[in-house]
Symmetry: C2
Amino acid sequence: MLARELAEPYPVVDLDTDAFAAARLLADQRLPGLIVNGDNGRPWTILPGSQVLRFVVPGYVQDDPALARVYDERHADQLFRPLATRSVRELLPRKPPELATLKGEDTAIEVAALMARLRSPLVAVLEGGEFLGAITVSRLLSMLLPEAP
Amino acid sequence: MLARELAEPYPVVDLDTDAFAAARLLADQRLPGLIVNGDNGRPWTILPGSQVLRFVVPGYVQDDPALARVYDERHADQLFRPLATRSVRELLPRKPPELATLKGEDTAIEVAALMARLRSPLVAVLEGGEFLGAITVSRLLSMLLPEAP
């Protein structure tokens, strides 16, 4: 089985995508992260949902659980307001982790080896530089694992 | 909103759970990882799907993409055979990462602060030491994020 047969549709955003729209996509599609295209228009990194939280939750609240406890929940709506005027580029950590990528012609074992080596739950599949889709570790297991040992 | 209202069912396995059954659970439920109870019967760590791959894919194949390419796909079935005689305990990395846990009475902001600080996509919610469920970052965003900014 080849990577191109394993690849499934996966949401991709650009560095200039509105940060609020990206957060809504994470929420609506119940995803742990989004694939982000680099400036060259090709998949480049992942925006994890936890990074959105790092951006909006004040640092002093992150560092002190006691302050988090007294943080007024009525402010929760306002917590996300800054996202409306920011881009995905501004949400990303300073050194975004490199996204694991493979070619459509790579084999399932190559996918497994890459995920194992990088401890990655997700790889992007490119063909001729174009994004074909993503492979999650559970998708790979569901295709490779026999029904019974 | 409190953690106990945010918590959703999530598969939990024990250290003595059959490793093959754990891998099938990851595949069938399309999950990136499972929650693993420690020897005290309480949620303790995560078994990521990529760790299952690290266990079964030979090290020389993980290290050399060229060897992965020539690895015979007909052996893929046999790749997972060792899981049948192993337990989850044997699959885990030597120093398993600590699972982020919260109490049922903790607030949504405390959940957000913990996920942000630990860069964690998942937290377990305990009440009186019992596992209530898990909260994913996308679940939290879907409950906290307003429809429009």
